[in-house]
């Protein structure tokens, strides 16, 4: 069993871009929700700025815009052809790669990605009115659900599938970690004391941005508490967007590759080591040694797994 490196690379990146598009849609959703909160309920004027920070494209944004207005942020993250990580460009890039790899995809996957790309055209070349944002967000989430479901239900369980899943998990882990990176301060215990109940809606928004508000209550059966939010997003393996879940997925699929290919390398070692680090942590220890540092370290480690995968298999 072998794959062209190019094919493996495309599968890896198609999944990443689709996952990224969904994540951007969730970021926009969260920002629009939080920005309409009254100040008395912890509303801030910086939600759109945090959206850009979470997406990790501040410098590029400021080249194109002078202020973090809702319109500018929605345009930049959603529609801008100049931003290579806008939702539009993510779907375009994923579709171009899918077209190049048409035979490596199942029919359902191809139709899902091609259909979403076609539908994206009808959203106009630049921007959409703020009033259409919720419909747009729904469209993007559904595009990602359809692609992910198609892959899960129709792909052969061989290395193609594993590279596709690796892309998805690496990207998802990065997205969840970035949300934590930007919002970590509202989860800190001493901040919770200072902020009182004001941050409640911020915590809820963090959960909502990873579709976990209801799951949270089923897991903890209690009101939203910041340290439990961190626990859920970082350590709960049952939560599909937690760092632990993504990392376990990455390790599993890397191990599959190693076993089928009969050899292993840096990516497997890095994957297992990060996975072990998460399994051996508990949330108190993470807070003790610094939540922010932990998240920053994770982002770096996750990136280096991605780089190792590229070096080992994709080039």
């Amino acid at each position: 069993m072998t794959l062209l490196s190019r094919t493996a690379d495309n599968l890896f990146w198609i999944a990443r871009y689709v996952e990224r598009a969904e994540s951007l849609a969730r970021i926009l959703d969260t920002a629009s929700r939080l920005s309409s909160l009254p100040i008395a309920y912890g509303g801030q004027s910086t939600e759109w700025e945090s959206a850009i920070a979470t997406a990790g494209c501040e410098a590029r944004f400021l080249e194109a815009h002078s202020a973090f207005t809702p319109e500018a942020v929605v345009d930049f993250l959603g529609f801008s052809p100049e931003n290579p990580s806008s939702i539009r460009r993510c779907l375009e890039t994923a579709r171009a790669a899918a077209r190049a790899e048409r035979t490596a995809l199942t029919l359902e996957m191809w139709e899902a990605i091609n259909g979403s790309w076609l539908a994206m055209q009808s959203w106009g070349s630049h921007g959409t009115r703020l009033s259409e944002l919720p419909q747009f967000i729904t469209f993007v989430k559904e595009a990602s659900l359809r692609f992910d479901g198609s892959a899960y239900r129709t792909m052969l369980r061989n290395d193609s599938f594993w590279f596709e899943r690796l892309g998805m998990f690496i990207e998802r882990a990065d997205n969840t970690a970035r949300i934590l990176d930007v919002k970590y301060h509202v989860l800190l215990p001493d901040h919770a004391l200072v902020g009182g109940g004001l941050d409640y809606y911020q915590w809820a928004a963090i959960l909502r941005s990873v579709s976990a508000l209801t799951s949270y209550r089923w897991v903890y059966r209690s009101g939203v508490k910041p340290w439990l939010v961190a626990d859920l997003l970082i350590l709960k393996e049952t939560m599909p967007r937690s760092l632990a879940h993504c990392c376990a997925g990455v390790t599993r699929y890397l191990d599959n590759l190693a076993s089928v290919y009969g050899r292993q390398g840096a990516s497997q070692r890095l994957g297992r080591s990060l996975n072990a680090r998460l399994s051996n942590s508990n949330i108190d220890a993470i807070f003790q040694s610094g939540l922010h540092e932990f998240v920053k370290d994770f982002i770096v480690a996750n990136n280096s797994i991605g780089a190792a995968i590229a070096e080992q298999y994709l080039v």
Binding site: S36, P38, A40, Y41, Y200, R221, S222
Partner: protein, 475 residues
């Protein structure tokens, strides 16, 4: 009712009130077909979520949507803070009254409320005498119906202290509005209501029997055939608690368990959406399959908390209602912040005579009725209907009260002909725990869709609106 009634959007000179100005500007700039389109989207959304209800006695319309109006009803921060202070006060009074009625009975001895009205009332549950629920809280969840008749006055129409429903509509209406009108939420800073699930869970935890640190809470539903089943499943999911039916429960040695794949699991708090009568065939209706045999005994032994408590119906009886201002003064030694609608108790001969003579201008209600059933709106009824109803009242006066027909306030509403004024009321949800009272800023606004109608009940064709409480920082 076309006469003078409070217009929520405009003042007497037909100038827009400050809270509504941005909405007005937006409505002016929005193209006409936009509202129609958004209304259709809302309907699709509600169908997809499955937020439907069943109307008893209607076969064909088994699952219906409550009409949703896309124009929000807006309250300023100042209006809300007065209203919520009044609601909290009312909740304290209701709980104090129930504790007293099922305990020392001071208020009866003091002659504030007549003895027979309480103890001969079918809603009075002698089984509750001598049983003290945790924290002396009886009405954990009240859905107080409020009407507004002028700038300054909110009236309580009903206290709904048994198993009030509608909160899922309050929450889903907001979700729908945020999806449909993001531009309005960008123009307004609206106080969030999404904390309701946590507030309710904290309330239920606060009244758990002291046994455990992490109490097990479950929601008891009569099942999918109940008209409010959607709400039961919605709330159980939001709270992260099991949705149980009577057959999922069993009682052994006065302890309540639910049947799980891992064997019996002890339940500490039951948020029950089953009426008193059906809770326990051993204590109440013997033919009921909806409850659990032995539940009442476990309850009296203090091994489980029921929310709301058994026997709260006595506090929202419409005849007892008429004494609420005195009840409130008696326990709290404060003046009521919210007003009571003047009520004629037909059990009193003068009031009966007045009711019969003025039936064309009064609203007449059964004391135990709810949901808009068993009531007559005098000004809207024809002569024959009025005479029939008067006859019923004469035959059984104890069972009726009458009230002046209130001029419910009006709010702009999107109907087929465009925007028009329609009558509205408001049902905020008041949560009383052993630790404190919690009220999320908002409530369910119900709107009488038919022109001139004053009946807002969903079972009678009423609709709902999202209710916005503004932050102080109106941008």
């Amino acid at each position: 009712m076309s006469g003078r009634c409070f217009d929520e959007m405009h003042n007497d000179d037909f100038l827009c009130r400050p809270a509504y100005r941005r909405l007005r500007d937006w409505l002016r700039s929005a193209p006409a077909e936009l509202l129609t389109r958004r209304r259709q989207e809302a309907e699709l959304l509600f169908r997809r979520i499955g937020i439907t209800f069943a109307v008893y006695g209607e076969q064909e319309a088994e699952e219906r949507l409550i009409p949703f109006d896309v124009i929000p009803r807006i309250l300023s921060a100042a209006e809300w803070s007065r209203l919520s202070a009044g609601l909290e006060q009312r909740a304290h009074a209701l709980n104090a009254f129930l504790k007293d009625i099922y305990g020392a009975r001071d208020i009866v001895r003091a002659g504030v409320v007549p003895e027979d009205l309480v103890f001969r009332n079918p809603s009075f549950r002698p089984e509750m005498c001598g049983t003290r629920p945790v924290g002396d809280i009886y009405v954990h969840i009240a859905g107080v119906d409020i009407v507004r008749v002028d700038e300054d006055d909110f009236y309580v129409l009903e206290d709904n202290a048994r198993t009030p429903s509608g909160v899922s509509y309050m929450l889903e209406n907001r979700e729908a509005m945020m999806r449909l009108f993001p531009e309005l939420f960008a123009a307004y800073r609206v106080a969030p209501i999404e904390g309701y699930a946590d507030a309710l869970l904290a309330t239920l935890h606060s009244v758990a029997p002291s046994r455990s640190e992490a109490p097990c809470v479950a929601l008891l539903t009569p099942g999918p055939f109940n008209s409010a089943y959607y709400e039961h499943s919605f709330l159980a999911d939001k709270l992260g608690i099991e949705l149980v039916e009577g057959r999922d429960l069993m009682v052994r040695d006065d302890i309540v368990y639910m049947r799980t794949t891992l064997g019996p699991k002890r339940v500490d708090v039951l948020y029950r959406r089953v009426d008193d009568d059906f809770l326990d065939p051993l204590a109440f209706r013997p033919d009921s399959m909806l409850g659990a045999p032995g539940l009442m005994s476990a309850y009296r032994a203090g091994n489980i908390t029921l929310a709301n408590a058994v026997g709260t119906g006595i506090a929202d009886d419409k005849a007892v209602y008429s004494y609420m201002p005195d009840i409130l003064r008696f326990y709290l030694a404060e003046e009521p912040i919210l007003k009571n609608v003047p009520t004629f108790r037909c059990r009193e001969p003068d009031a009966l005579a007045y009711t019969i003579d003025h039936i064309h201008e009064l609203v007449v209600k059964e004391v135990h009725g709810s949901g808009g059933y068993g009531m007559l709106v005098g000004p809207h009824a024809d002569r024959a209907t009025r005479q029939n109803f008067a006859e019923r009242v004469r035959r059984d006066p104890e069972n009726f009260i009458s009230q002046p027909t209130l001029a419910l306030s009006t709010c702009p509403t999107f109907v087929d002909g465009g925007l028009a004024q329609r009558h509205v009321d408001l049902r905020p949800f008041v949560l009383s725990g052993a630790d404190k009272v919690r009220i999320v800023p908002g409530g369910l606004t119900r709107v009488a869709i038919a022109e001139g109608s004053l009946v807002v009940n969903s079972s009678q064709g009423g609709g709902t609106k999202d209710t916005w409480v503004l932050g102080d920082d109106l941008p």
